[in-house]
């Protein structure tokens, strides 16, 4: 097992290094001249030369890469091509919004998905099970950008109520802020809780068939105690993993949800940056997403051994 952990720990920096190379050099290979684009009408060869020197673009590309990577280790992601602000500040300002949206989505989908999944599993083939599974079919079938568009668009058609755009900061008005984020979070949770519900249900069903559950029943434990102590404890291991792995889904979801609900988060920033060909911003975001995603995956894999001592990596 130690060998496995060491191998995983060594692989992470290698993977991230390759990712950084890909992210840097693929952008570097884009045809077109950033300097010409930046100067636009005021372009003269002398000015272009000066700007190139200022941006460090006159140096060999390897040196530029080293400089870029070195800067990132010190928290310097360069400046936006769009408004020349440091990308670190741009990302940092938007992080809370995305974090709030992600956490709320996670909370909602876990509460509904796991809770309803347990009910569906315990009441297998009863009416509750059928209804819940029917609902998950929709959750899995409707893409988040479709449901979000309809949730924003349809209520004003039929009612007087509509979603209030114009983001309110949490510190300004906590309740308005939470209410504002809760709707996109619920839309995101619809999809993710369906996955959780199905997984939880299957896990509960499997745990219910184990010998130790029959033993627990036979020694006269209450139904609730059996479910709580014996079934759930064993059913939850894969569920916890999937919740952890959902990070990627949260990032993907935020791209669409923030766009549709006009939330000033990271997901909206990346789409704008792609639209404006703001290469340094895209590079920084992609690399950070990769780092985050890789580390979370690593942590999940390693905690697996803690949650379930039966698993022995060889």
């Amino acid at each position: 097992m130690t060998a496995y952990i060491v191998r995983r720990l060594v692989a992470v920096p290698v993977v991230l290094f390759i990712l950084s190379i890909a992210v840097f050099f693929m952008v570097d290979a884009i045809p077109g001249d950033i300097v010409a684009a930046k100067l636009e009408n005021s372009y003269t060869p002398a000015r272009a030369e000066a700007l190139r020197a200022h941006l460090g673009l006159d140096r060999p590309v390897i040196v530029q890469y080293g400089d870029w990577l070195g800067g990132i280790f010190q928290g310097d992601f360069g400046n936006s091509l769009w408004n020349d602000r440091p990308i670190r500040n741009e990302l940092w300002d938007r992080l809370p919004v995305t974090l709030e949206l992600g956490l709320m989505t996670l909370l909602m989908s876990t509460m509904f998905g796991v809770g309803a999944g347990i009910i569906a599993g315990v009441r297998q083939n009863k009416i509750e099970d059928h209804v819940l599974r029917f609902v998950t079919t929709f959750g899995l079938a409707i893409p988040v950008f479709v449901s979000a568009t309809l949730v924003v668009g349809l209520p004003p058609v039929f009612t007087d109520w509509s979603i209030k755009f114009g983001y309110v900061d949490f510190l300004e008005d906590p309740f308005a802020n939470l209410g504002q984020v809760a709707i996109p979070a619920a839309v995101g949770a619809l999809a993710f809780s369906s996955i959780l519900l199905r997984l939880t249900r299957v896990q509960v069903l499997e745990a219910l068939r184990q010998d130790y559950v029959r033993t627990a029943r036979a020694k006269g434990l209450l139904g609730f105690t059996v479910i709580w102590r014996h079934v759930l404890k064993n059913a939850m291991i894969p569920v916890v993993t999937v919740i952890g792995l959902s990070l990627g889904g949260m990032i993907s979801g935020s791209v669409f949800l923030e766009q549709i609900f006009s939330l000033p988060g990271l997901g909206r920033y990346i789409v704008n940056s792609v639209n404006q060909s703001d290469y340094p911003a895209v590079q920084a975001f992609v690399l950070l997403a990769g780092v985050l995603f890789t580390l979370v995956n690593l942590i999940i894999d390693l905690t697996y051994t803690v949650f379930d001592p039966r698993i022995r990596y060889s």
Binding site: I18, V23, I142, P143, V152, N275, S277
Partner: protein
């Protein structure tokens, strides 16, 4: 092994063909009986494919033809109503399936070919080549699909060819991983050793003996990824980064509807249903194929 049992050409009598056809029909019948949900998925897949292939010819008006009938609801003249420029929405919907579906299907095919090739090479080469390949694959898989797609769009652009490359590059890494792991286990099979012992060279062993056994399981697993590829191709267009208006495409139709939804909710509802049904059908069908092929792969 197929080479040794293959009959002489012309020996196959018509009644053998007929029996084969009957066998195929029986297997199909069994699929429908045992996987009713998968059969529903198959119906949806066929419907979507028909729209993708024939949709442009199933309309009476040009999808880009303007008319003074703005934002009208569905009627006998305009079955799906009209949009904010008076364009017939039925025509736009019927033409809007092809780009999304074609991109996803082409991406899967190219990705499948490329991924299988590199996966087999990686498994066969072993050693540091394999290791390097795997780390490169890992670094691609370190990003959620849509983020990788956004990055590739930034680098490559938004033309049709660019989008095909983007989707292909999304399929290749997971395919390499699957193909490699299947190839690794197949390379230990006795028939591979036997083929070498009979004096076959590596390309022949890999092409004639490994590949026929490798393709079905890889293909089955990759089928399940078409759904997410459809989502990404429609999603990119929705974000304005994929198929560009005025070319109708379900994703950009949905996006364009957002401004008009208050006066013309049908503009959002039709593409929303179309995208959902397409993804839903493909997923149901893919899951069913996977279950039939190997019930052990059933996860959710």
């Amino acid at each position: 092994m197929t080479a040794m049992t293959a009959p002489e050409p012309g020996v196959e009598a018509p009644n053998v063909l007929r029996e084969r056809a009957i066998g195929l029909v029986r297997r199909f019948g069994r699929f429908v009986r045992t996987q009713p949900v998968g059969a529903l998925g198959l119906v949806l897949v066929i419907l979507i494919l028909v729209i993708a292939i024939f949709g442009e010819w199933m309309v009476r008006t040009d999808p880009n033809a303007l008319s003074p009938a703005f934002q009208e609801g569905p009627s006998t003249a305009h079955w799906f109503g009209t949009d904010n420029n008076g364009r017939d929405y039925y025509s736009r919907m019927m033409s809007g399936g092809r780009p999304t579906i074609a991109l996803a299907v082409i991406g899967v095919i190219f990705g499948f070919i490329g991924g299988t090739f590199f996966g087999v090479v990686s498994a066969w080469a072993k050693g540091w080549v394999d290791l390097l390949f795997q780390r490169i694959v890992d670094s691609f898989l370190a990003l959620p699909g849509i983020i990788l797609a956004l990055f590739l769009v930034t680098v490559l652009g938004r033309d049709t060819l660019d989008l095909i490359i983007v989707l292909t590059l999304l399929v290749i890494p997971p395919t390499i991983r699957v193909a490699r792991s299947v190839a690794l286990s197949l390379l230990n099979e006795p028939y591979i050793e036997a083929a070498y012992a009979m004096g076959a060279r590596t390309p022949r062993v890999l092409g004639r003996h490994l590949l026929p056994n490798l393709l079905p399981p890889v293909a089955v697993l990759i089928t399940t990824s078409i759904g997410s590829l459809l989502l990404i191709s429609a999603g990119l267009s929705f974000l304005g980064l994929g198929v560009q208006p005025p070319t109708p495409e379900w994703g950009n139709l949905l996006n364009e509807s957002r401004g008009e939804i208050l006066y013309a909710p049908h503009l959002a509802i039709f593409p929303g249903i179309a995208i959902s049904l397409a993804v839903f059908g493909v997923n149901l069908f893919g899951d069913a194929i996977r279950d039939v092929w190997d019930p052990r792969l059933r996860s959710l």
